[in-house]
Amino acid sequence: MAEELLVVSNLKKYYPITGGVLGGEVGVVKAVDDISFSVKKGETLGLVGESGCGKSTTGRALLRLIEPTAGEIRFDGVDVMNLKPDDMRKMRRDMQIVFQDPFASLNPRHNVERILEEPLIVHGIGTSAERKKKVAEMLEVVGLNSYHARRYPHQFSGGQRQRIGIARALMLKPKLIVADEPVSALDVSIQSQVLNLMQDLQKDMGLTYLFIAHDLSVVRHISNRVGVMYLGRIVELTTSSQLYSNPLHPYTQALMSAVPTPDPDVVRERVILEGDVPSPANPPGGCTFHTRCPRVKDKCRTVRPEFQEIEKNHFVACHLYNQA
């Protein structure tokens, strides 16, 4: 079994809600509520869920771009949570992030060369000439040309910008890339180009991905294992093929049945969920999914289900599978 590059235990991120005359804390939004998972070297772990489920917060908390409230993050054997800011910055050489919006995540006033060179400057790597050479090389790697270096972000299409975003993340030769909805803003024909690029890069450079997305088909395609999130918790985590052939959690089942497929011959049993995702500021007690669950039992309303391994490599948090 491959070595674990990233181990996350009991990660929490709570946001205080302030209110009242004195602006005191009146409650918390549990954006990420006690989640644990690990990512093996060279694999892609997907995190899926609907808006507000905490998948992006998780990605950012791992890099401490958002300071987690509690929990433990071990990256390559180092306890990330207890690093001093300076050491943390050095640590980020090995853990980089690619953002969703290629329009908002590139500085419009800097040309591509400057954008790509910046991580090297920050970490004091190479001379100016060496850095420029690296930029030119990296542009070729992500399928652009070295003559693009002098251009500005607005001169590129969405797909090309996302390539620049990926190139920037790769400049420091990181071990882990957190990809936060990297293809959601792209057209279908461009999306597949970027997904293929990411797979090629993973093979060539031995990268490990944490791939965050809301599109189940995309996540299935790129991931080895997938975690499904709902209201700040992981409800199911297993291999990609297991999750799609044998989803256990009622939420996963509903999510899968809701994805429209372009094949008119595929007939799926459709589970249409009632209602909306409850507010994370006031989540339901017990299992957070009980308000919408078609198979709810009394116990679900009061007791939070444990996240446990039901079959080998198949974790689920649901009372239906509680063996105790």
Partner: protein, 322 residues
């Protein structure tokens, strides 16, 4: 066959900009019959939204202008219709739902005011009657506590609920044609499933003709009877939904379907169409798709193919299928 509810012929909507005249919609013809759901699919900049705005004559002018073609709604040409006549039609005989329910609802009016507005304007109903109609519509689109929600404001509702309100508003005057421009794109999949279900049900019950604009081929498979595929301002393929999704003829449609990751099976590698979606206005001679087409021959680069029949109710704009 009976007269179509909507019959667009050779529509040309151009934008006049500093960079010159951009043919965003370039000779598009579409028919929608009563009770039929027709999908327009395509990637960004293909002209699908401009087509739908042209029908409502909502293309901002300047810079946009309908420079040619006809849009017949039950036989009446909307291109030459007066603004007064258009105001009678909009929201009454033709209604529209937009992608972003938050920006298309007015934040300072209650839900009831906004649904009732169309009813008051078009049917001369009293305030009380229109409010009653609003409650009735809210119940129809599956909003719980309709009597209370009618007096609430858009910000108090979730995204899925807002889209339901938009649909209630659109359906309040029993339109004969509903134009839905990416109605579920901003919604989560479980909410999308609810909204699609609702739209199917309304289409069945009221026999409303629906023109659905989307980029999602999965949504098309679930909703549409017929599909029109657009690329760079042109219709490049059309046919009934089965034909287009199972036996597409145009290399672009084939490429688009192949580049989708599938939920049912795992693929080693996705097919990808080379190159980028063309920037509107950067037009070449010949077939618009030729620069990205792997099967392009010399003729494709020189001459624009016609949209020709390749089967029953199936037309494709490609030299390979001629």
């Amino acid at each position: 066959m009976s007269q179509p509810v909507l019959h667009i012929e050779n529509l040309q909507t151009h934008f006049f900009t500093d960079r010159g005249q951009i043919p965003a919609v370039d000779g598009v013809s579409i028919k929608v019959h009563k009770g039929e759901v027709v999908g327009i699919v395509g990637e960004s900049g293909c002209g699908k939204s401009v087509t739908s705005l042209s029908i409502m004559k909502l293309v901002p002018n300047p810079p946009g202008k309908i420079v040619g073609g006809t849009i017949r709604f039950k036989g009446e040409d909307l291109v030459t219709a007066s603004e007064k006549r258009m105001r009678e039609i909009r929201g009454n005989e033709i209604a529209m739902i937009f992608q972003e329910p938050m920006t298309s609802l007015n934040p300072v009016f209650t839900i009831g005011d906004q649904i009732g507005e169309a009813v008051r304007i078009h049917t001369k109903a009293s305030k009380k009657e229109s409010r009653q109609r609003a409650i009735e519509m809210l119940k129809k689109v599956g909003i719980p506590r309709a009597e209370a929600i009618v007096d609430e404001y858009p910000h108090q509702l979730s995204g899925g609920m807002r889209q339901r309100v938009m649909i209630a508003m659109a359906m309040a005057c029993n339109p004969e044609l509903l134009i839905a421009d990416e109605p579920t794109t901003a919604l989560d999949v479980t909410i999308q499933a609810q909204i699609l279900d609702l739209m199917r049900q309304l289409n069945r019950d009221a026999d409303t003709a629906v023109l659905l604009i989307t980029h999602d081929l999965g949504v098309v498979a679930q909703m549409c009877h017929r599909v029109v595929v657009m690329y760079a301002g042109k219709v490049i393929e059309e046919g009934d939904v089965r034909t287009i999704l199972k036996e597409p003829k145009h290399p672009y449609t084939i490429g688009l379907l192949n580049s989708l990751p599938k939920l049912e099976e795992s693929q080693e590698r996705l097919y990808s169409i080379p190159g980028n979606v063309p920037i509107p206005g950067s037009l070449t001679t010949g077939c618009r798709f030729a620069p990205r087409c792997e099967q392009a021959v010399d003729r494709c680069r020189q001459e624009m193919p016609e949209l020709v029949a390749v089967g029953e109710n199936h037309r494709s704009r490609c030299w390979l299928s001629v």
